[in-house]
C-alpha cells in the first residue's frame, strides 16, 4: 500500500464521513488488524466516538472484523473499498442506463446506506419517485411497490446488488466475524417475500428497528444479543451493491467503445452481444470468456439491430483479424488482452500529453521491439537525433522507460556495455496509478478549499434561494426581485466562477476514477496469475 493511496483514502473519508471517521479509518488502514482498545489508544479519542465511527465504517462495507487466536475481535479496513467511493457516480449512472430511473435510485440508496434491507431501499425509492412525480405535476399514477420490487429482482439477477455476508456468532450469540461464503451463488439468491416483508408492514418504525440492531450487532458488545434471534433464522437480509459486477461492466464498456473506434458502431454492437452472452457463462476472474458459437451470437443480437448472417460473419472476421486480438477465432474474447490493450492505450495518451507525439513514437518503438539500443530507437522513430535523445532521457528520468545494462566484459566499462532501453508496463502502470491517486487527492483538496473559501457567499446564496422558494407565487414578483438584489453583481460573478471551478474539479475526479479503474484492472489481471501459481 502506498502513501499516496492512503492520502486519497483520507480525503475521501473526510469528505464523506467527517474527521472522526477519517481518523479511525486511517488508523485501521495503517495498522492492519487492530482490536478496539488499540484503536482507542492510537487515535486518542473517546471510546464512544471510536465505536460509532467503526459502526459507520462497517455499515459502509469498509471495515471487516474477525476474532483472533486470543479471542479478541480485530478490525481491519480496506483501502480499495474506500476508493470505490470515487466511482459511485459511475455506478449510479451505469444502473440508470441499464435499468432506468428506479434502478438508479435503488442503487443510489444502497450505495449511500452502505448496506440496507431491501424493503427499506424499495420503500425509499418508491417515496422518492412519487415525490418527484408529484413535484413535476405529471398525471402518471403513483408508482407501486411491486414495480420497484421487480426492479430489485432484476438488479439481483444482473448481479449488480447482492446480499451482504452473514455474520458468525460464537456460542453465546456474540458476533465474532463476517461469514465468508465460499459459494457466491448464495449471495445472489433472489429476494424472497420476507426480504420485503420485514419493513413492508409499518414503514417508519420497522426501518428504525432494523437500523439499531445492525449497529449493535456489528459491535462486539454482547447486549445486542437479545435482538439477534430475529435475524438468525433468515440469514443476512442486508443487501449491498456488488461493485465487482459494475467493474466488469465498466471493462466491457471500455472494450465496446474501443471496438467502435477501431471498426464501427455495428461491430461494437456485435461485441456488446458477445460480452453480454459471455457475462452469464464466464467465471468473472477468467482471463478469457466462454466459447460462443456463431448462431448463439446471431440469435442473441437485439431485435432492432439484427443483421444478416453474411454481414455478421464479416463483422466477426473483422473482429478477429483486427482489434489487437480481443476476439479469437474460436469465438471467445480475451479479456486480458483487451484490458492490456486498453491500458497501453491509456498510458500512450498520457505520454502523448506529457512528452508530445515524438516521444510517443519512441515509446511505441520500445513497446514493439522490447529491448532497443539508443541508436536503434532514434533510427526507427526517424527523429532528429538530438531531440530524440533529449526526449528519451526525459522519459527515462520520469520512469516511463527503463534501461538494461548488458556488459561484454566483467568491468562494466561503458565502452564495452550495451545499453538497452525497454518498457516495464506493470511498473509504469503502477507509477501512473500512484500519480492518479495523488492527482485525485489534490483535486479533492482543491475543491474543498475552493468551497470553504467561498463559504460565506455560498451560504448566502442558499439562504436567498430558500427565501425565494418559500415565497408565494403571486406575491412574489416584487419581493423576489428585492431579495435577489441581496446578492450583488460581483458576488454573482464570483459564485458563477466557484460553480464552474468545482464542476471542472468534479468532472476531472470522475475522469481520474476511470483512469484508475483501467490501470487497476490491468494490474490486477497481470498480477493475479502469479499469486495463483504460488498457491
Amino acid at each position: 500500500m502506498s502513501r499516496l493511496k492512503f492520502e486519497l483514502c483520507e480525503q475521501l473519508l473526510k469528505e464523506c464521513y467527517g474527521d472522526i471517521v477519517a481518523t479511525v479509518g486511517m488508523s485501521l488502514l495503517h495498522n492492519k488488524a487492530t482490536p478496539l482498545a488499540m484503536i482507542i489508544h492510537r487515535t486518542k479519542m473517546e471510546a464512544k466516538q471510536v465505536k460509532q465511527a467503526l459502526c459507520s465504517l462497517i455499515q459502509q462495507n469498509i471495515v471487516t472484523f474477525h476474532q483472533n487466536n486470543s479471542g479478541l475481535i480485530e478490525y481491519s479496513g480496506s483501502a480499495d473499498a474506500i476508493l470505490c467511493r470515487l466511482r459511485f457516480p459511475h455506478y449510479i449512472h451505469c444502473a440508470k442506463t441499464l435499468f432506468g430511473d428506479a434502478a438508479e435510485l435503488l442503487v443510489e440508496e444502497l450505495l449511500v446506506q452502505g448496506r440496507s434491507t431491501l424493503g427499506d431501499a424499495v420503500n425509499k425509492t418508491v417515496y422518492k419517485l412519487n415525490e418527484s412525480l408529484a413535484a413535476s405535476g405529471s398525471s402518471i399514477p403513483e408508482i407501486s411497490q411491486n414495480l420497484i420490487k421487480d426492479k430489485a429482482s432484476i438488479l439481483v439477477k444482473a448481479r449488480l446488488i447482492r446480499r451482504c455476508e452473514d455474520v458468525c456468532r460464537d456460542k453465546d450469540g456474540k458476533v465474532i466475524s463476517m461469514n465468508v461464503t465460499f459459494n457466491p451463488e448464495l449471495l445472489f439468491d433472489s429476494p424472497r417475500e420476507h426480504d420485503y416483508e420485514r419493513t413492508a408492514g409499518s414503514k417508519r418504525s420497522a426501518a428504525e428497528i432494523s437500523e439499531v440492531p445492525l449497529k449493535k450487532v456489528k459491535l462486539e458488545t454482547g447486549d445486542a444479543a437479545s435482538s439477534l434471534g430475529k435475524q438468525n433464522d433468515t440469514g443476512s437480509s442486508y443487501w449491498c451493491v456488488n461493485v465487482h459486477q459494475f467493474h466488469h461492466h465498466f471493462r466491457d464498456q471500455a472494450i465496446i467503445s474501443a471496438v467502435a473506434k477501431i471498426i464501427d458502431q455495428k461491430a461494437s454492437e456485435v461485441m456488446r452481444t458477445m460480452l453480454r452472452l459471455s457475462e452469464t457463462k464466464t467465471v468473472p476472474t477468467d482471463p478469457i470468456s466462454a466459447h460462443l458459437s456463431f448462431t448463439e451470437i446471431c440469435t442473441a443480437m437485439p431485435k432492432d439491430k439484427i443483421m444478416t448472417n453474411n454481414v455478421m460473419d464479416q463483422y466477426l472476421k473483422c473482429l478477429s483479424e483486427n482489434c489487437c486480438g480481443f476476439v479469437t477465432r474460436i469465438g471467445e474474447s480475451d479479456f486480458f488482452k483487451a484490458v492490456e490493450a486498453l491500458c497501453i492505450s491509456e498510458i500512450e495518451t498520457i505520454i502523448l500529453e506529457r512528452f508530445g507525439s515524438k516521444a510517443l513514437r519512441m515509446y511505441r518503438v520500445l513497446l514493439a521491439e522490447k529491448q532497443v539500443e539508443q541508436e536503434q530507437v532514434v533510427e526507427k522513430s526517424m527523429l532528429p537525433p538530438k531531440e530524440a535523445k533529449e526526449l528519451l532521457y526525459r522519459m527515462f528520468a520520469e520512469n516511463f522507460v527503463t534501461l538494461t545494462e548488458l556488459s561484454k566484459a566483467p568491468d562494466h566499462a561503458p565502452a564495452r556495455t550495451f545499453y538497452f532501453f525497454n518498457v516495464n508496463l506493470l511498473q509504469v502502470s503502477r507509477m501512473l496509478l500512484e500519480k492518479c491517486y495523488k492527482a485525485a487527492a489534490n483535486v479533492m483538496v482543491r475543491r474543498q478549499k475552493c468551497i470553504s473559501e467561498n463559504k460565506r457567499l455560498l451560504d448566502k446564496q442558499e439562504r436567498v434561494d430558500a427565501i425565494i422558494s418559500s415565497l408565494d407565487v403571486e406575491s412574489a414578483a416584487e419581493q423576489k426581485e428585492e431579495i435577489e438584489q441581496m446578492v450583488t453583481l460581483s458576488e454573482r460573478k464570483q459564485l458563477k466562477k466557484v460553480g464552474e471551478a468545482s464542476k471542472v474539479l468534479e468532472t476531472s475526479e470522475l475522469l481520474l476514477g476511470h483512469t484508475i479503474f483501467i490501470l487497476e484492472a490491468f494490474i490486477n489481471s497481470t498480477v493475479r496469475p502469479v499469486t495463483v501459481l504460488k498457491k
Binding site: 460473419d313 511505441r364 514493439a368 489534490n442 464552474e500 483512469t515
Partner: protein, 316 residues
C-alpha cells in the same frame, strides 16, 4: 648430345617463364586477396624454385604484382592497373595511402584508420599526403552522418554509401526531420482518405471495407511521387520506414496479405486506425503533466491548495 638438350632446355625454360608469369597473374586475378608461394608451386609443378623466383621478380619489377606480408608468409597480389596509371609519379607513401583508401570503397575510411593501416606515424606527413591526393582530385573527403565531426576519405569518383550519407533523409549530413514529418503526414492522409472512401463504397460490407482500406507501401509511394513532394527518388524500402513511423505513432496498423503472384510471398499492407481510448483523465488535470508532482504535499511549499497550475486551470 649435350648441346641440343641444353638448347631444348633453354627454349623450354623461356616458354615456361612466360607461362609461369601468365599463370601467376591468372591466379592473382582469381583470388584478389593474394596468393602464397605454395599456391604458385601447386599450379606450376614442373618448374623449380629458381624459375618461380625469376618470374615473380620480373612481375614485381614491371609493377604487375605486389608483395605483401601476412603473418609469416608472403602474399603476392595483383596490382591495380588503374591505380598504377592514376598515381604515376607519386611516391611510395602516397601509393600506400591511396591503396588503403581505394580498398575502403564507397564506405570511406577515417584518418585514424588510415594511419594505423599504413603505419605512418607522423600525422603531419599523412595530412600532407591526403591534401596532395585531394588536390589531384584522386580522393575526396565526405562528412559522415554517424559522427558529424568525422571525415571519411574515398575515391573521387565514388558515390558515398547510404550508411555514410544516411540515405534520402539526410542532406549535407543533417537529418531532415521536416521532410520526414511531411512524408509521414501525407502518408497518413492518404491512408485516412482510403479508409473514408472504403466506408462510402461499402457501408454494409464490413469485411470488404476493411480490405479496401488497406494500402501497400507501393500505393503510398505512388501517391507521394504523384504529389511531387520529394526531390529525391524514394524506394519502397524508404516508404516502408516512413509507414513504420506511422505505426509507431499509433496512427496506422500493419497487416500482411499474400500477393497475387504465385510465389506466395506476403506483402505488407497498412491501414489508418484511431487510438483505442480517449485522452486519459490523468492528463486532463494539471497534476498529470505537473513537473513537480513528486514534491507536492498538502501542507508543503508545493501544495494543491496554492498550486499555480491549478489556479490557471480553473480561471480559464
Amino acid at each position: 648430345m649435350a648441346a641440343p638438350i641444353a638448347i631444348v632446355k633453354q627454349e623450354l625454360s623461356e616458354d615456361t617463364d612466360i607461362d609461369i608469369e601468365a599463370k601467376i597473374i591468372e591466379l592473382c586475378t582469381l583470388t584478389p586477396k593474394g596468393i602464397t608461394d605454395d599456391v604458385i608451386k601447386a599450379a606450376v609443378p614442373q618448374c623449380d624454385i629458381q624459375q618461380r623466383v625469376i618470374a615473380v621478380n620480373r612481375l614485381l619489377s614491371t609493377n604487375h604484382i605486389e608483395l605483401m606480408k601476412s603473418g609469416a608468409k608472403l602474399l603476392y597480389k595483383l596490382k591495380d592497373p588503374d591505380a598504377v596509371s592514376q598515381i604515376k609519379g607519386a611516391d611510395t607513401e602516397e601509393k600506400v595511402v591511396f591503396q588503403i583508401i581505394k580498398d575502403a570503397q564507397n564506405k570511406g575510411i577515417w584518418t585514424r584508420d588510415i594511419r594505423i593501416k599504413s603505419n605512418l606515424k607522423n600525422i603531419q606527413v599523412l595530412n600532407k599526403i591526403l591534401k596532395n591526393l585531394e588536390s589531384k582530385k584522386l580522393i575526396k573527403a565526405v562528412k559522415s552522418v554517424n559522427a558529424s565531426k568525422k571525415k571519411v576519405y574515398m575515391l573521387y569518383n565514388l558515390e558515398p554509401d547510404q550508411s555514410v550519407t544516411g540515405g534520402p533523409w539526410y542532406s549535407a549530413s543533417e537529418f531532415e526531420s521536416e521532410f520526414v514529418e511531411i512524408l509521414n503526414a501525407q502518408a497518413h492522409k492518404f491512408l485516412q482518405q482510403k479508409a473514408l472512401d472504403a466506408s462510402i463504397v461499402y457501408p454494409e460490407d464490413p469485411w470488404k471495407r476493411l480490405q479496401t482500406s488497406y494500402a501497400s507501401a507501393d500505393n503510398v509511394l505512388q501517391h507521394i511521387t504523384n504529389l511531387g513532394i520529394s526531390k529525391v527518388n524514394l524506394s519502397v524500402k524508404h516508404m516502408e520506414s516512413i509507414l513504420d513511423t506511422l505505426i509507431y505513432d499509433g496512427k496506422a496498423e500493419l497487416s500482411a496479405r499474400t500477393s497475387g503472384s504465385s510465389d506466395g510471398e506476403s506483402m505488407k499492407i497498412y491501414r489508418a486506425v484511431q487510438p483505442l481510448t480517449d485522452t486519459s483523465g490523468l492528463v486532463k488535470t494539471p497534476c498529470g503533466v505537473c513537473p513537480v508532482i513528486s514534491r507536492c504535499t498538502v501542507d508543503g511549499l508545493i501544495s494543491p491548495k496554492t498550486c499555480i497550475y491549478m489556479k490557471d486551470w480553473l480561471d480559464f
